[in-house]
Structures are given as structure tokens and as C-alpha cells.
Symmetry: C3
Subunit: 316 residues, 3 copies
Amino acid sequence: MIGRDLLGIEDLEREDIERILETAMHMREVGERDVKKVPTLRGRTVVNLFFEASTRTRASFEIAGKRLSADVVNFSPAGSSLKKDESILDTARTLDAMDPDVVVVRHGVAGVPKRIADVLAAPVINAGDGAHEHPTQALLDLLTVQQEKGRIDGLTVTIVGDIVHSRVARSNIYGFRKMGAEVRIAAPPPMIPANIEVLGVKAYTSLRESLNGADVVMALRIQNERLAGSWFPGVREYSATFGLDRAKLRHARDGAIVMHPGPVNRGVELSHDLTDHRPSVILDQVRNGVAIRMAVLYLFAGRRGGDGPMPLPDVR
Amino acid sequence: MIGRDLLGIEDLEREDIERILETAMHMREVGERDVKKVPTLRGRTVVNLFFEASTRTRASFEIAGKRLSADVVNFSPAGSSLKKDESILDTARTLDAMDPDVVVVRHGVAGVPKRIADVLAAPVINAGDGAHEHPTQALLDLLTVQQEKGRIDGLTVTIVGDIVHSRVARSNIYGFRKMGAEVRIAAPPPMIPANIEVLGVKAYTSLRESLNGADVVMALRIQNERLAGSWFPGVREYSATFGLDRAKLRHARDGAIVMHPGPVNRGVELSHDLTDHRPSVILDQVRNGVAIRMAVLYLFAGRRGGDGPMPLPDVR
Amino acid sequence: MIGRDLLGIEDLEREDIERILETAMHMREVGERDVKKVPTLRGRTVVNLFFEASTRTRASFEIAGKRLSADVVNFSPAGSSLKKDESILDTARTLDAMDPDVVVVRHGVAGVPKRIADVLAAPVINAGDGAHEHPTQALLDLLTVQQEKGRIDGLTVTIVGDIVHSRVARSNIYGFRKMGAEVRIAAPPPMIPANIEVLGVKAYTSLRESLNGADVVMALRIQNERLAGSWFPGVREYSATFGLDRAKLRHARDGAIVMHPGPVNRGVELSHDLTDHRPSVILDQVRNGVAIRMAVLYLFAGRRGGDGPMPLPDVR
């Protein structure tokens, strides 16, 4: 059912997402043991091919791979030549010839993981490509909401921030829509993509209105360098109008949770207080990130030469 | 008995130190086998969180962790934002949410490992913080002296060099004092901290006098950029007065050993000849470093969720 | 029979090469399994000591080590001090004191691996030193030819490119000559070393003549910065006269294969078409690289404290 690669949430069916979330819940149990390790991917090789620096996401995939007993090889090509499409593909082909079981790719340019997947024998997991998608981030967000709220279907989710430049927003819009949630976005006009309605979301320029009835409020990280641009509001203005604190959060539904992909610009997207305490669930998102990546590696890395995912028995 | 974290030798009791040294002696036996690996920490995750570059210490912890069958994840955050206290703590909290069993921290600023330990669930091992402490270095030095001299109690140890800026000196002063040795320091006046006597050491500005009766002479690494400063002697003058060679060493007790934390500035702190040959024991210090780090990881990493260190049986 | 270190093909006997190739063929079988892992080097430590950046070769050794169940520690010293011979040797001695079972060394200066081997207890594998040798590259090339042609003895091999600056050329000249092949080199005059005939090769300045009767055509990577030099031809001229495409390849023997150590400057050393399709075997070379490095680690890393290589049983 699930394809060979995980390039974006856009390509997944609801059943695929449910299966990944269910597998991740088994993986979370592994994470709660004293010995957090299963032999499931023993002898399999996971390559982290990160063209864009990312210690957090890379560490999450590395820990996930090691908890499954896979061998994890980090590979961060450097140098200007790797901006050329052909050099990128040749690098990926070279690694592929070393017969990895899965290649996790991050790149600053949208579409590169797909281009790589087209030429590799190994399955490709997209760990973030430009402003396109970051599917494992959306999956860990879905898992966190499922865990906190017991369901996703029928909830109202408000995503706040620079939607135009956010792969996290894009993947989450696809994910929450497919799982039956209502998705709203809230941002200053320049941060709202044109025609975003075609994705089935409603756009708000008033944070207060967007929060009315929201069960989940997801703040996006703002790139400070973007806020310095002439047509974006300054940091102080952004923080005053779209930064979340307990006062503004009162407009959301009682019991609403607050999410953020991290790292938080404290005092900008979230107040200090909200960053550190419930109802924000930022560190649960990080913890679920390892479980989601274990599930994804398990479902996609065990298939080379086979005809489908392996059975789950030794995970339990 | 031993606390949750290993932040400095200052916090340890003599019994704690003895226990770590005893455990390290078991670990040394493992290092002498053909297959230098025990399953003690299988399924445990060691995170090396090094904000300050250090290939040697990082490699020592990495090898130590792998010999105990732990999964080791190296994490070297970069970027100016990581000079801010809050970014440092948020980075550490993020890693902590991935449920490591121990986090090894090195940072250029004194006190950062303690600040991190205050917010983490995982135990923290200080791998060097500013000019504060470098506890595993002192422990490996103690182990080396114990091995060479059969005891530490009652020995005379002279530490030579830039005491003001040396975390190695500070940790060793605490360690040798607690273990019953007499500790002397010898340096040009600007390199001697004010009130150093409160640590129970005697300060000398004459190398010759400081060596009289010494069983152990420990030279510290001099930062060349410091020697260029106006109130410090130049390299040549330092080397002439405080650099060790066989002639000067004759003032020490017969059979005195020479130690250095490495890397040696050859011809500055130690003559070429002393760097390479007995009575210097520099490479024994390095070898004992792996054993000490195995002992420390074993004693501190196996405790998350438990109420004390694990039994030692499968180490033997 | 085989020495303690693998510093260059020049030092090997034909029997040594045959034994490494035969071992690599067993390792290739491991690489074709679903679980590509054998316990042969469990508990052994492989240190990758790379003074010169090289993600591809480093990844190949790392994957090879992990497939043999070794612990692999990557160590890439940085900083200007490591250009000094003594700092290099002291760094290597420090690592050696951590008791690795083998140290893989790459350095930009010819002869450094030999200098390091002279002072280490651990065996040293040369992963490329300046313009001197790159023995595992030649071994993987030999394995690829053996696999493609069924033999090496009696074949004609033409190496095309900047022979003066190429450790790949040097190692391959030794390797193919020792295995009984005729070796030719083809390049513009400034790229042909003086007295190259003493290595038993024939030099050509006409590509067409050099290809006449060739079974194997090996193109070398051209450093673009070198082509910019005043006494070398420009990129376009080089490509026109020594760049390989299907038209020029017609001068070689029917069924000739094309090799390249990668990464290819597409359109310079090889046409796009030849880079991607048979008769070029570039990705087979990469795949064989892992098998060769497994064989070499197996033959050289298992010997510390013993008196010869271990038996092969659990590889089969």
C-alpha cells in the first residue's frame, strides 16, 4: 500500500498515515523500556544524506536507526559543487552503490529528494526539502495530537506563522486534512501563500479569529532574517500580533494544546512561559519524533529485495 | 553514594573516587582482551554534546561507550546562537527528550554542564567546562599515578604551568588532595590564581624548589596565544624557566614520573626527549582515559529509572 | 605473507593481491544477502583518521567496518597545527594509545601514512596520501576488471589523464603490472611524469594510439584548478583530445570497459552518456570498494596481538 519512498504527506493515503502512527505507537513502547533496542533492522544500513545542516533531525534519525539495531552512516557533503543538480545525483548514486537499505535526504531545495529517489535503488525518506515538505515532522505532530486528544478526526487545528516558507506547514496541512481535521492558517498577509484555499484550509489575518474553537495551535519558527525584509513586519510587531501567550490562547478552545517544531525563538513565536510549560507539548513532539522515525525506517528500510514491509512481531 | 551527575571532582567524596578507580581497573582488563567489548550498556544511548571542539576527548568517550556496547551519538552544535544560555539549554532539552541514558557535555564556559544538568532528566558528565573542571582528566591522572606508584596517599605532586586558566589543574588539585597527596603548584606569578592556598596547595615561583621531593610532576599545556600576552613571559622564557627536561627533573625525587594532559607543545612544556620517553607516562594517561570513561559511563549511564548503579558481574 | 600495514600496492606481492581479491569476493557475497553483516570483527575498533576531507572513501570504509561488526570511530583533525609533522604523529600516537585494531589514514602529503605506521602499534591502511598511492582504490579496480573480464593477466589497460598528480594512477600501475597486464598511459605531455617507463608502462600523447587493443580504459579525475594553470591545456581542449566518448572508444578493443574513480567531471573526462551507461562500470567500482575494504579490514585488523590473519569460516 505504502509506496517505496516517503517524499511527502501529499502522496500518502489516510490508511498509510494510520499505519505509520500505529507502528510508531509500538515503537514508543520500545522507548519506554530500560533497554530501548530491538533487533529489527540488524544488518541494515541507514544513510543520513544531509546536504543542509540539521543536528536535531539528524540526531533523531540516528537514534531511531540505532534503536532498531541498524548501522547508521552520516554523510554531509560540503562544497559548492554540490549545488549542481548533477553533482547531487552522482553523490547519491555513489552512496546507493554501497547498498544502503534506506537513504534519508535533507536538502535546501524543494524536489531534490524526489530527483534522488528517481535514480536510486534504495528507498528515500525526505527529511525536509526547501519549502516543500517535511513529512516525518507532520507525522510526529499527528502522533502527538493523537496521543493528547485521543483522535484527530473532527479537531480544529490552527497553524500560525510564515506559511509561505514553511515545509512544516505544508506537510501538516496535508496530514491533518487527510486525517479529517479542520485546518486554519493565521499570519500577516505576506506570509500567506496565494491560493492556499485549494489545500482545503481557511486563511486568517486575525489571530484571535483563527483561534476561536481551536483544539490545537501550532506555531511555526520564524526566520529572523526574513523578518528583517522590508515587506514583512518586524520581530516586535510580529510578536505582538502573532506571538502566542496565555492571554491570546484564551481565545482557543478550553484544553487546547500548543505545538512548535523547534527551536523556539522565545518571546517571538511563543512567550517564555508557554515555551516551557503545558499546554505546550514541544518536548513530547521531540520524543515522538524518534518513535515516528523508528516506524518510518522500519516500514521503508526493510523492503529492499522484498515485496513489502516485514512483520512486526519482534517489536512487541 | 555517587550523585546523579559528574560535574566536578570538587563534589566527590574520597570513596566515590576510589570506587571509580576500582571500576576503571576492571575496565582496563577489558581493554587488554582481544575482543575489547562487554554488553553492559547494550541498548543504552550515550550523547556526546560537544559545544567546544575536541577530537581527542570526544574519541575517548566514543570508544569507551562503544566498548560497553552503548549506542554513541555525537552532537556538535554550531552557530552563534549557541552562545546564548537559553539556546544552549533548549538544545540540551531537545536532546534529552530523545531519552539518552547519559549526556557528556563540553563547553567553553564554566558552569554550563551544571546549568544543563539542572534541566535534564539524563545524567550529565562534564567533559570540560571553561577554566572550571575536567573531572575525567583528573580521574585518569589519578588512575595513572595509582598504577605507577601503587598508591596516591602520601605522595607529593607538583603541577607546573598556567594554573589560572587550567580546568585540568583545578580538577587534579581537588582529586589528589582528596586522595591524600600533597599538591604543589609552580608557575610564573601571573599564572598563579589569587588565594590558591584555600585549596590546600602550596604555590612556588621557583620550579626547582617545587620539585624537591616530588613523586609526580604534571606539566600543563600552555596556550601559545596566552604567552603572546603582554603580562605573561614569552614562549622562550617560559620554556627556559618552567619547561621540563631531564636536567631540571633531577631536582625531583628519584623515580618521579612526568605527566601531561596532551597535546604537548614539544620544547615548551616538555623537552622532546621527555615527551617521548619514560619517566613520562603520557600515552598511559591516554589509555587510562578510555578505562576511566568506561567506568564513568558504566556508573552514571545505567541508572535512569533505577535507584543505583548496576552490578558489575559481566564486566569481569 | 602480507605485511602488517597496507601502505601501497608497490609493497605487495602478486600472491598478496590475489589473496585480497579472493577475500573480497567472499565479502561481496555478504553484500548480496538481505542481512549484510557478519560478526567477524565484533569488538574490534576501526579508526578512520582522515586529515584530508573525503566523504566517499570515508563512508566506504565506515560501511565496510560496520558490515564486519567492528566499531568505527571517525576522527578528522582540523587546524593548522596539524600540518606539522610532529603534531600529526602525536595525534596518531594518542589515538593508538586508545588501542584501535586498525587505523585508516588519509593525508594530503605523500608518505604520512608510512611515517604514522612507523610509530603505531596498530596496523595502518593508507586511504590515499598526496600523489603517492591509494591502494584500496587500485584493489577495487582490479576486482572490477577480474569480475568483468574473468582475468587480469594478459589484458591491456590504458590509463588516461593527469598521471603526474594521481595516486590512483600510481597504485593502479603497480597493481595491473604485478597481475600481468600491459599498462599504457595517455595524457598531454605536462601530465606525464618523467621516467614513467621505469614502472613498466608505455606513455602515449595520442589517445587514439593508446586505445588500440585496450581491454580496459581508465579515465582519471582532472582537478579543474590544475587545468586553469598556464602550462596545462584548458578544460575544453582537454575534453576534446582526451575526454572519452563512444566515438573515441571505438578505437579500443570490442567489449572494452571504461572505469573512473569518481566523481566524474561530466563532459570533461567522460561524456554524459558514457558516465551513465555501459561499458562504463563506475558504480560497480564503488560497490566493489566496500567489498575490498571489508577484505582489507578483515585481513589487517584481526591481527593485533596474534600472529596472522584469522580464519575465514564465518564469512562464508
